[in-house]
């Protein structure tokens, strides 16, 4: 990051900016800062200078984000400023009532559940929570849930089912936690039970991958009538780092692994893993969180309208047919861009 540590305009850069500037965003960031500075000058009409700069920025954003590699998308999906569970709940829901506890072991803050209104729909929202600053991240275990998190999710989904509330899940986890306690308390069993139960829940279930779709930990709240995915989110059978360390015994080849795993929204749409990709604002959700929240709210309402209007039996039949056909009769994808990774 050495070359990114200085701004071409001021020569300064805040530590936060340095930490959150993705390598491929550096030129964009410099432009954005220049625009901010011009705007901050009082009482001078700089429209003549601003407009070309803004056009240039937008062109650059469209250019850079129009051809992100798989690994760059993974980095965008993990961006610290990307909207998370709390921002979506705050921005698109009314009367949010969080509900805690799995009634079996304890409370897992990596998994958040609660009642809310989205538009006209009264729903249960379930989602991973990663946390923002260090203390919160630790409390949320960086979004890696334990069995009690998955059991809490299931307990609340059963509650929603009893009272006819549709379920919306927001997926954003690097994976379910791999630890001693998690194994002792049956991580595999907790996830397996959720996946099974979600296939037959009587109420509409809408799942959305908003950031990281980390394997079984994501799928543990990811089975439903429809699965949506934000444009720069990723969804994968294993993390790129984990895959690289197995295939090449080298976790730093995550970039190659990300390309090979076909974990991006466009590929997953072709593979039938997701049903719809929700476009992100120009330059990614982290650049315009409010616009992202608004766009997702619109998509959720559209799908809930459709799912709620369906006959419940027909909805369950379609859900089963969707699950049952996953991976069947798929046309092979084109080879990944950038060709094959070099041998180890």
């Amino acid at each position: 990051m050495a070359d990114a540590s200085k701004s071409p305009t001021t020569g300064k850069r805040s530590p936060v900016e340095m930490a959150t500037c993705l390598p491929f965003e550096r030129t964009i960031l410099a432009l954005e800062r220049k625009i901010e500075e011009l705007k901050s000058i009082p009482d001078v009409d700089l429209n003549g200078e601003l407009q070309p700069l803004e056009h240039r920025r937008d062109r650059l954003l469209a250019e850079v984000f129009g051809k992100l590699t798989a690994w760059q998308k993974v980095q965008v999906a993990r961006h610290p400023h990307r909207p998370q569970f709390s921002e979506y709940v705050a921005g698109m829901c009314e009367d949010w009532v969080e509900l805690h506890g799995d009634r079996l072991f304890g409370e897992d803050r990596a998994m958040c559940t609660g009642l809310a209104r989205i538009g006209d729909h009264r729903v249960l929202i379930v989602g991973h929570r990663k946390g923002r600053e260090t203390r919160e991240k630790l409390a949320c275990n960086f979004g890696c849930a334990h069995p009690e998190g998955y059991r809490k999710a299931l307990a609340k989904m059963r509650l929603a089912e009893r009272f006819g509330l549709p379920i919306v899940t927001l997926i954003n986890t690097p994976g379910a936690y791999p630890g001693i306690g998690a194994e002792e308390r049956g991580q595999a069993w907790a996830i397996a039970e959720n996946i099974l139960a979600m296939s037959t829940l009587q109420v509409p279930v809408l799942c959305i991958v908003i950031g990281e779709g980390g394997s079984g930990g994501a799928l543990g709240i990811g089975v439903g009538d429809r699965v949506l995915m934000l444009e720069y989110a990723y969804y994968s059978v294993i993390s790129p780092e984990g895959c690289a360390s197995i295939l090449w015994k080298d976790g730093s080849r995550a970039e190659d692994a990300a390309r090979a795993l076909r974990l991006t929204s466009d590929d997953l749409l072709k593979l039938g893993v997701v049903d719809e990709v929700v476009p992100e604002p120009l330059g990614g959700a982290h650049r315009s969180p409010d616009a992202m929240v608004e766009a997702l709210k619109g998509a959720i309402i559209t799908h809930l309208d459709e799912l709620s209007a369906m006959d419940p039996d027909e909805r369950l039949e379609k859900r089963y047919a969707r699950l049952r056909s996953l991976g069947n009769g798929i046309e092979p994808l084109d080879p990944p861009e950038g060709g094959e990774p070099s041998p180890a």
């Binding site: 379910a176 936690y177 791999p178 630890g179 001693i180 998690a182 194994e183 308390r185 049956g186 991580q187 595999a188 069993w189 996830i191 397996a192 039970e193 996946i195 099974l196 139960a197 296939s199 037959t200 779709g213 980390g214 394997s215 079984g216 799928l219 543990g220 089975v223 969804y235 994968s236 059978v237 294993i238 993390s239 984990g242 895959c243 197995i246 295939l247 090449w248 090979a260 795993l261 076909r262 593979l271 893993v273 089963y320 047919a321 699950l323 049952r324 056909s325 996953l326 991976g327 069947n328 009769g329 798929i330 046309e331 092979p332 994808l333 084109d334 080879p335 990944p336 990774p341 041998p343």
Partner: protein, 345 residues
Amino acid sequence: MTPFFRKKKDIPLGLWMKCPDCSKMVFTKTFEQNQNVCPECGFHIRLTAEHRIQLLVDEGSFEELASDLEPRDVLHFNDRESYEAKLKRNQAKSGSTEAVRGGRALLDGRPVNICAMDFGFMGGSMGVVVGERIAIVAEDALERRVPLVVIATSGGARMHEGALSLMQMAKTSAVIAKLREAHVPYITVLADPCTGGVSASFAAQGDVTLAEPGALIGFAGPRVIQGTIKRTLPEGFQRSEFLVDKGYVDRIVPRKKLKEEIATILDYLLPREVIEETPPEETPPEETATERVGGEPAPEEPASEEPASQATGEAVITPAAKTDADGESKNDVAKEDQANDVRST
């Protein structure tokens, strides 16, 4: 030595063999006659799917389903070797086209459907065809209303088929959910090792869950856990006995007794009329099958053409296990290690 590593798990050739666990020399024939369990220490050697089915079903009764489905490389996955080449190599080595085989059979005279996985085929990893075969055999069990027995051993979802492998967890679970609703008994037998996406889906959904002694069973593999928590794992962690202690496995059953125990358990789970009326020699026709289940409401019939069309239809994508390209050249410790990593966390 770390508790979760075993030295050697494959069956060595030759007149005499050394038990991979206790290192005693045993006459190979004796070993084989003992279902490949060490007569000295009781260590259970890993078996092929075919071998496992053979040990459980009545001779000549196995009728394989969906064996025509073959894995495909939908992602163009390529690490040190292309996925296609890896599949061919594993197919040649194992004599199977995929890491699971399943079909109809008789178990001590009882009609059942059975699936067995093969850890020797890309670490028993689950890709689209593995998921599809299990789903087809399970749906057939539902239609025939006969119990399903699955012997699960796998490193997890297969990386080489990406998220499609992950989705097989959802596919298989959806079918198991239907078995549950219809009260069709489902027995799982967890064999060494059983981790990742398989342990976190159909393997953990049995009405009754059995395990072979000493099997490694868990969500994350030991190496991943150790790498995460930076601590040595307790002795016996994630072994069958540990899972019984923690309340996740009903019984540990030695291979020798497996058939007998499953039969006994099924006799409790099946409606009384079925046990008394089923002619042991043949699979009853479907109408009788429904009656046999007595007062059970008819299950939601899955579209009956669906399994058939899937069985004959385009095969599916295939996954890739994470077992390494050069797995054979590695020692078995490394193999197991890798296998554990195939898991989808």
